[in-house]
Amino acid sequence: MKLEAKAFLLVIVVVAFMFLGTYFTMIVPLMDKSLYTPTKDAKPYTALELKGKRIYEREGCMYCHTQQVRNLLEETQRYGMGEEETFKRFGIRALIQAPPSQPGEYVYDQPHLLGTRRVGPDLARVGGKYDNTWHLNHFRDPRSTSPGSLMPAYTWLYDKAGQPTDEAIALVAYIQKLGTNYKWREEGVEQARALQVKRNPAPPAEQSVPPTTTQGGAQ
């Protein structure tokens, strides 16, 4: 009797095959403790940040923004800090790459929001890139901060007078949290400083290092 003629037997073999692939590609990673070990800077979400995450999910932000800096040079450069930004905020000219996303940064995410499509830029390292006002303006009128953006205006997160509601504020808190489970900005600046001190042990106080390029880390 051929296998395909035996309905019951066919179902058993189909399930066995399915289990085999599922075991190796899903159950083995589920048992991998290293995927659940938080990075050293990782902190659980505060109530406000968690509320913001729920709004991010409710409005479907993950359909147009990924949250993963892939392990590729162009992504660590694009989503890192450019010289303008490091000079303005840390007084040093350096191109600081964003580290690729690591499993330990996501341990508090349920559901995950890794995403699959970039209609807008990746947000895994966006926390700390802009100030809160920028984000509040951006959600209310995306093209006022980012000309050419395709993002919808989230007017229902604002009251009639145009003031942000609790929801808009929570959403900004969540966005500012993204990527801070790894203190890469601070560590990157520290390393860049150490490198400059090593190269140029006693720089005159007034002199700033000339820029090698003006663009960098621009989103």
Binding site: G21, M26, H112, A218
Partner: protein, 452 residues
């Protein structure tokens, strides 16, 4: 092949098909609303319930479960009793399944529009709806297995469509239940999401679509199946190979490298089941490409798009290709080729073949059927090719970080315009389809002479 002593009622088949076509119209209109916003971002803006982030899951879930799965279920209610030489186990159970399915789809529209979502792609439906889907699927599976169990003696050796159908019944149940368990977190949640998401295509819509193609290609051409042996190889390689592929959606992402490599290796091996099935289809279709009417055209084009989309898929998993096309609009073109160009074309052919046989009168208009095919075909090509070119170029721009992200968005504009225009053609075609089905169902007064 039909046993003349068995009289089929086909009530479940008929009403499932009507419902599927109705949902199809709604979900593609949502699709074009989103396509419009890629050209005019402010279009119908400021309304939470129809903002892009909320209607996007209505479009994807609506097309997959409201249209494609429902259409294939309707066709299964027609095909399975005939392949088993017996009546459907229960038409009443079939209609109850349909009733529940309608409740699920309408519930999905309301909950998703109000922002009630599980926020994982293709797993968005809330827990209540998840449970209802499970119940509906069990009802469908009971009906199918019970019909297969009472098949006539001469049908003891089951036809390939039945293996695929039984596989789908099992795969769907396991995927749906395990995928929806609320116990995963972090990167494992993403891995399980794509274990489900990849196999929703690979182990629900692929085997269901192939089951239909394996039935309707020989039926509508009058040719015997090209090779029984190839169909056996195709089935068992799908059963073995597909489940390993989920992680190829997260290449270069924060999951273990070995997991990505396993997914890549198995992705390449998927060429085996695809090429065996396609060889079988082309072999069965031989000599009928130019003689056939729109039913055969849909099957030929569906087979070709299935071949192409399943060539793209393994290639996307290669790291060098993935680096460029992943996260771009290229993937949107790829997904539409699988779901629209491949499996929807099979389902449409099935509906055009099936409805006249259920209703015992020809389709209302064969000319509309021809128009439906050509507009769908041309519209889809415009849609996909524009996204492939645009997406590929955007992917290349992303590889140079000195090009600002917003500039790469602006560069997509001409491609989004072509996509919108092409989508309008695709939708016009589906309006003709729905009109034709409606008129046929109503018993239109002007039948064309030849039966499809």
């Amino acid at each position: 092949m039909n046993n003349p002593s068995v009289v089929h009622e086909d009530t479940s088949a008929r009403w499932f098909i009507y419902t599927a076509v109705t949902f199809f119209l709604v979900t593609i209109l949502i699709g074009i609303l989103m396509a419009t916003r890629f050209v005019f971002p402010e279009f119908l803006g400021g309304i939470a319930a129809i903002s892009t982030g909320r209607i996007r899951p209505i479009h994807t879930n609506g097309v997959l479960f409201g249209w494609l799965l429902a259409a294939n279920m309707g066709l299964a209610y027609f095909v399975v009793p005939r392949l088993c030489g017996t009546k459907l186990y229960s038409e009443k159970l079939g209609l109850a399944t349909l009733g529940l399915w309608v409740v699920i789809i309408l519930g999905a529209v309301v909950t998703l529009a109000s922002g009630d979502t599980q926020a994982k792609e293709y797993l968005e439906l809330n827990t209540t709806l998840d449970i209802l889907v499970t119940i509906a699927w069990v009802m469908f599976a009971v009906n199918m297995f019970a019909t297969i169990a009472k098949r006539s003696k001469e049908r003891e050796q089951m036809y390939v469509s039945l293996w695929y159908l039984m596989g789908t019944l099992v795969w769907t149940a396991v995927l749906w239940i395990v995928g929806n368990l609320p116990v995963y977190s972090g990167v494992n949640d993403a891995n399980v999401n794509w274990w489900f998401g990849h196999n929703a295509v690979g182990l629900i819509f692929t085997p269901m679509g192939l089951a239909m193609a394996y039935y309707y290609i020989p039926k509508s051409t009058g040719n015997p199946l090209y090779s029984h042996k190839l169909s056996i190889i195709g089935f068992w390689t799908i059963a073995f190979l597909y489940i390993w592929n989920g992680a190829h959606h997260i290449i270069f992402g924060p999951i273990p490298t070995w997991l990505q490599t396993v997914a890549i290796l198995f992705s390449i091996s998927l060429l085996i089941p695809v090429w065996t099935a396609v060889t079988n289809f082309y072999g069965t279709l031989r000599g009928k490409w130019t003689q056939g009417n729109y039913v055969v055209k849909f099957l030929v084009a569906g087979t070709t798009f299935y071949l192409l989309t399943c060539f793209q898929g393994p290639m996307h998993s290669l790291r060098t290709v993935n680096q460029i096309v992943s996260k771009t609009d290229w993937i949107i073109g790829h997904a539409h080729m699988a779901v629209f160009g491949g499996f929807s074309f099979f389902a449409m052919a099935g509906i055009y073949y099936t409805l006249p046989r259920i209703l015992k009168r020809p389709m209302y208009s064969d000319r509309l059927g021809e128009w439906h095919f050509w507009l769908s075909f041309v519209g889809f090509l415009g849609f996909a090719v524009s996204l492939w070119i645009g997406g590929f170029l955007q992917g290349l721009q992303w590889m140079n970080y000195t090009i600002a992200f917003l500039d790469t968005v602006k560069s997509m504009f001409p491609y989004y315009v072509v996509r919108l225009f092409s989508a309008a053609i695709m939708i016009a075609a589906q309006l003709l389809f729905a009109f034709n089905v409606y008129k046929t169902a109503r018993g239109g007064a002007q039948p064309t002479p030849a039966i499809a």
